[in-house]
């Protein structure tokens, strides 16, 4: 025994939590929405998800090799990025375009900054923003049941008619939209799972959606249902505004972040040139994360002086 005694700092026991475990749970939470995507949009949806994930893993592996780093693909975070990117694209996106987006997301959204933990922006959203700016036509065309239609949000934005999708279909997800963002119900399953596993802050998605709801109610109450259920709001609120790396750390900071995202989303939707604002609003708020962190330091134990209590 004497010769192989290990000396290490306390604590000598560790929890079972790990980065890969967290990412695996996120992937599990994303499964229902993925199944829904394949049901609504057919096998093309599956191909988009597959392409995006595979390219994401290969890109990270490529950077690891190039920089002679320890392999980081085993923490599964690149797959989460790949899947999230796929979920934010229409099912008709050409696969080469998906691959380019996924490569850009991993390499320029994450690895150039030093990999997981150091990226200032949500990599999936970086990829999505890159594709939206570079290929606006392809990213803006949506097909459901073989017919090309505009998303409910685009219809309202460009005033090319009234929204024909009823609230039931909005909730189930049976309408033209990006892959994974359609079904509120399936996304909420993922939300419940992540909250149950204590990986995300319960209140962030709630505050995000509430903010959007309140602002939409004031500006355009007749289309409230579309603004809340008809776009990428739930996908963004549940899986992107809660991304640990790119959002503030303190509970208060997280709420500020969520409200900020909600306000920016509405500003872009109502007064900007894009019909959808979730992607850019979260990216803009990512930019503010360090400042929010600076101003929301948690009040430590004993910093609130007690009034002398009677015994």
């Amino acid at each position: 025994m004497e010769h192989n005694l290990v000396v290490s700092p306390a604590p000598h026991i560790k929890s079972k939590f790990s980065v890969s475990g967290m990412m695996l749970d996120t992937l599990i939470a994303l499964v229902p929405a993925g199944v829904g995507a394949v049901i609504f949009f057919g096998y093309e949806a599956f191909l988009v998800i597959l392409t995006s994930s595979v390219v994401a893993v290969l890109s990270e592996y490529f950077v690891n090799l190039l920089r002679k780093q320890k392999m980081t693909i085993t923490d599964f975070s690149c797959i989460v990025t790949g899947v999230l990117l796929a979920y934010s694209l229409p099912s008709t996106t050409p696969l080469w375009m998906v691959a380019v987006g996924s490569f850009f997301a991993i390499v320029f959204g994450k690895m150039v900054f030093g990999g997981i933990g150091f990226n200032p922006f949500n990599p999936a959203l970086v990829g999505r923003a890159f594709l939206q700016i570079s290929f606006p036509k392809e990213i803006g065309s949506f097909v459901i049941d073989g017919i090309t239609t505009a998303t409910p949000l685009t219809i309202i934005k460009n005033k090319i008619g009234t929204n024909s999708v009823d609230i039931i279909n909005l909730l189930i997800g049976n309408y033209a939209s990006s892959l994974g963002e359609t079904s509120v119900i399936l996304l909420l399953l993922g939300y419940l799972y992540l909250v149950f596993r204590k990986h995300i802050n319960l209140f962030v998605p709630i505050f995000y959606v509430l903010t959007v709801g309140i602002m939409s109610m004031i500006v355009s109450p007749e289309n409230l249902a579309v603004y809340i259920f008809g776009g990428g709001l739930f996908l963004g609120a549940i899986f992107m505004a809660t991304d640990p790396v790119t959002t503030p750390v303190s509970p208060k900071g997280k709420i500020i972040f969520a409200i900020g995202c909600g306000i920016l989303t509405c500003v872009i939707r109502f007064w900007g040139s894009y019909p959808e604002g979730v992607c850019f609003s979260i990216l803009l708020m990512n930019l503010l994360t360090p400042i929010i962190d600076n101003y929301t330091i948690v009040k430590k134990f004993g910093s609130v002086v007690n009034k002398k209590q009677e015994v």
């Binding site: 604590p11 929890s15 967290m22 997981i116 430590k300």
Partner: protein, 431 residues
């Protein structure tokens, strides 16, 4: 019931909870460290080749914050030698005494059986002469704690024992409930406190029952069961849970009119005042991945290697020895280290962690959610890593109680609490 913020629920692993107290036969040699307490080293009052008796004072307190040390054996003072210290982590001077096996004791004069007839200062002095320190692990000299500069109304008797594996306080409460409560009465008398509360975690049903039975017959003393949660036994968290008061940052329990004592300390005070026996032995838990576990009464100064031999502990597959519990205990490089007053347990662990490397912080906030001091361990960890001491200061590392919850939950396996300890010492240097 009020709760403190944060905390964790590690596997309890109280393997030895059904083992009754057993006395380990005195060893051949005892090694009494001169540093068995917070503060100045004790100063030896015996010379080489002196003959000492059980209970005889061999080293005296030196200065205000210090404590006396007594011999647990009768025999000859062999030498003064520098040996490894379990807490300091380097060699420190110790008195080596050879046990002649005659078990001759000094004449224990139980002078203060009716302690309430004596002056408080006299009782505190008797505690000082008995070399009693905080036996929960902090080893702060008890006589100093019992002479607070502020008025104290409440005494909390800490029977939480929130560290996994350890069961020594649990067993002590089960077998010596009366003596422990008697000790609490002495503490309350000395402090002029009007209320005593025994606090036991709700996983120690048997101990709670025994203590409640005794407490019910004592006026002004009550018992309270609190939720099992680590670090429930930490002073500040205990006061928050029981009384709902937060000790101001940088303050002491007496700032809110409270003194917290461990049950083992209370037992030692009872022994010193009622029986006149100074502190030279204590209860420790032997546990871990070994077949022989239990709660043992051992002489202070017993080598761990002697315990291994005496109890016939199979240690062939053991690769870690921990002084204390697994959350805050200290792992040692050899078994040639003696037990000191603050040692509450020795754990023999088969450590399966092969890789101590860690990844970057991914800001998952788990550490913020568990920190019982409501600090932001993630920032402390990152800024310490980059040695940005001005930034570290913003996040008050000195408020850290070093409970280790942050390291326990970290998904990237970062040694956060260790980094904070480093930051503390670095900031002290820079001052």
């Amino acid at each position: 019931m009020k709760q403190f913020f944060g905390g964790i629920h590690p596997p309890e692993n109280k393997i030895s909870q059904h083992n009754s107290l057993e006395k380990i036969v005195l060893p051949q040699l005892v090694y009494l460290h001169l540093s068995q307490h917070t503060g100045k080293l004790a100063k030896p009052i015996v010379k080489q080749n002196d003959y000492v008796l059980i209970g005889q004072k061999v080293a005296d307190y030196d200065g205000l914050i210090s404590a006396a040390i007594h011999s647990p054996v009768s025999g000859k003072v062999l030498e003064f030698r520098e040996i490894l210290h379990p807490v300091i982590g380097k060699k420190s001077e110790a008195i080596v005494i050879e046990n002649d096996g005659n078990n001759k004791t000094i004449d224990f004069k139980p002078k203060y059986k009716e302690y309430f007839r004596y002056d408080k200062v006299e009782i505190i002095n008797a505690i000082k002469e008995s070399g009693i320190v905080g036996l929960g692990g902090a080893m702060f000299p008890t006589h100093v704690k019992l002479s607070p500069k502020k008025e104290v109304e409440i005494v909390l008797l800490n029977g939480c024992e929130c560290e996994p594996y350890l069961t020594c306080d649990d067993k002590l409460m089960q077998e010596h409930a009366r003596e422990i409560v008697e000790g609490l009465k002495i503490i309350m008398y000395v402090l002029d406190a009007v209320r005593g509360i025994v606090v036991v975690e709700d996983n120690k049903k048997e101990a709670f029952k025994k203590m409640a039975g005794v407490v019910s017959r004592v006026p002004n003393v009550e018992i309270m069961s609190v939720k099992t949660k680590y670090p429930q036994g930490a002073e500040k968290q205990l006061i928050k849970t029981v009384l709902g008061k937060e000790i101001p940052s940088g303050g002491l329990p007496m700032d809110v009119g409270v003194v917290v004592q461990n049950v083992a300390t209370s037992y030692a005070i009872y022994n010193a005042i009622i029986n006149g026996i100074p502190l030279y032995e204590r209860v420790i838990t032997i546990s871990g991945d070994v077949s022989r576990v239990g709660n043992f009464v051992v002489s202070i100064g017993t080598m761990v290697s002697d315990i291994i031999k005496k109890l016939n502990i199979g240690t062939s597959e053991i690769n870690k020895i921990i002084f204390g519990g697994p959350m805050m205990g200290i792992s040692v490089p050899t078994s040639e280290i003696p037990i000191i007053k603050g040692t509450s347990g020795i754990l023999f662990i088969k450590d399966k962690i092969k890789d101590y490397s860690y990844g970057p912080c991914i800001r998952c906030c788990k550490c913020i959610n568990v920190c019982p001091m409501r600090l932001m361990p993630n920032f402390l960890s990152i800024y310490t890593e980059y040695e940005l001491w001005d930034k570290v200061k913003i996040f008050s590392p000195n408020d850290c109680i070093e409970c280790g919850c942050c390291s326990y939950v970290c998904v990237s396996k970062r040694p956060i609490v260790n980094q904070i300890k480093f930051a503390k010492s670095k900031l002290r240097e820079l001052k």
